[in-house]
């Protein structure tokens, strides 16, 4: 994974694990990789990996089983999905509109492009 400059790495680590949960790679109640595994795999400082994981613990997406590791909570995928839906406008639509305005594209033109994309 290539990190982007725009976001802190720990945020990207949290999103990376979330993506794994959304895609089903880490099903509910299954174990996610350890901080050490994440750190070595991504070549990042373990403190950064831990900070990313802690975001998910705070949000209740994963939980700690003492002595065993981190596990995916029941309902985690659904809660990530609704969080990302709430952020969809800010993260994606907003950028589309800024670029569209720069190019002089009307709201109708953009809407029709979105419809075209959906129809594919």
């Amino acid at each position: 994974m290539d990190f982007q400059e725009e976001k802190p790495i720990f945020v990207q680590i949290a999103e990376y694990v979330e993506d794994g949960i959304l895609s089903g790679a880490y099903p509910e109640d299954s174990q996610i990789p350890s901080t050490t595994e994440i750190s070595v795999w991504h070549k990042i400082n373990p403190a950064t990996a831990l900070k990313g994981i802690n975001i998910l613990v705070d949000e209740g997406v994963i939980y700690k089983k003492r002595g065993l590791g981190m596990f995916v909570n029941i309902g985690a995928a659904e809660s990530i999905r609704s969080k990302r839906r709430r952020q969809f406008y800010e993260n994606y639509i907003n950028k589309v509109i800024i670029e569209a305005k720069k190019l002089g594209l009307s709201s109708e033109e953009v809407t029709s492009m979105i419809e075209r994309g959906y129809g594919r």
Partner: protein, 283 residues
Amino acid sequence: MKGIEIRNLVKFYGDVQALKSVSVSFSENKIYGLLGRNGAGKTTLLNSITGRIFPDSGKILIDGEPAIENDNAQSKVFMMGEKNFYPDGMKVKDAIKWTEEFYPGFDRGYCIDLAEKFGLNQNKKIKNLSTGYGSIFRLILTLSVNAHFLLFDEPVLGLDANHRDMFYRSLLEKYSEQPFTAVISTHLIEEVAAVIEEVVIIKKGEIIRNQATEDLLTKGCSLSGSAAAIDSFIAGKTLLGVDSLGGFKTAYLLEEIDPTNLPSGIEMGKMDLQKLFIYLTNE
């Protein structure tokens, strides 16, 4: 205090002042990046800690004890230097045995495993190793001694991309299992940026930055737009540098800027560690 503490260190080479009253601490169990341009004083600083050179004045404490000519303090430190300090004709396997005798914490099994992983031929004479394998030989020994403080001076010099990758992973694996303090001096900033928790930047014998890597990265940003828009926005702000290409201008700042508060026509980007380093250490 646990860790390495350096206070007002001064070192002259003839008329040239290599270290100008350097004060810096390396705390326990953290990975530091020691960054600086050629001749900035990185090696002089590291060599002073291990007693390979003597500073003209100043103090170095290792876990609170003076470091100079103190065997107990020095036994906690191991430095991977740019050069080998083994007899020329010595074979790799004999150097491993020799190091084992001097360092009680040396992990022979781990050392041999790493040598095999990196493809280091232990029957070769040290003087016959290529630049890359010379570095590999020294970094394997450094990772195997189990000292509290590991100092790496240009650890990846001459290593190919695969071997550099193996080095960072081996370092992090070892660190995760049993934390230690690592100080890594390197020119390959992009590669090490995510590995280091703290960054120390040295310029012409002076420490100009010493902070958490993430903290520095949060503050660095670039603002781009038309020269007129940029000029009016940056008035009164402290700049790291400016690039312009025709009427288009990019300004680099070390300041947290609220992206929702930007005038239209100005785009904000972040700066990576290498870019920040270049602007901070430019003449």
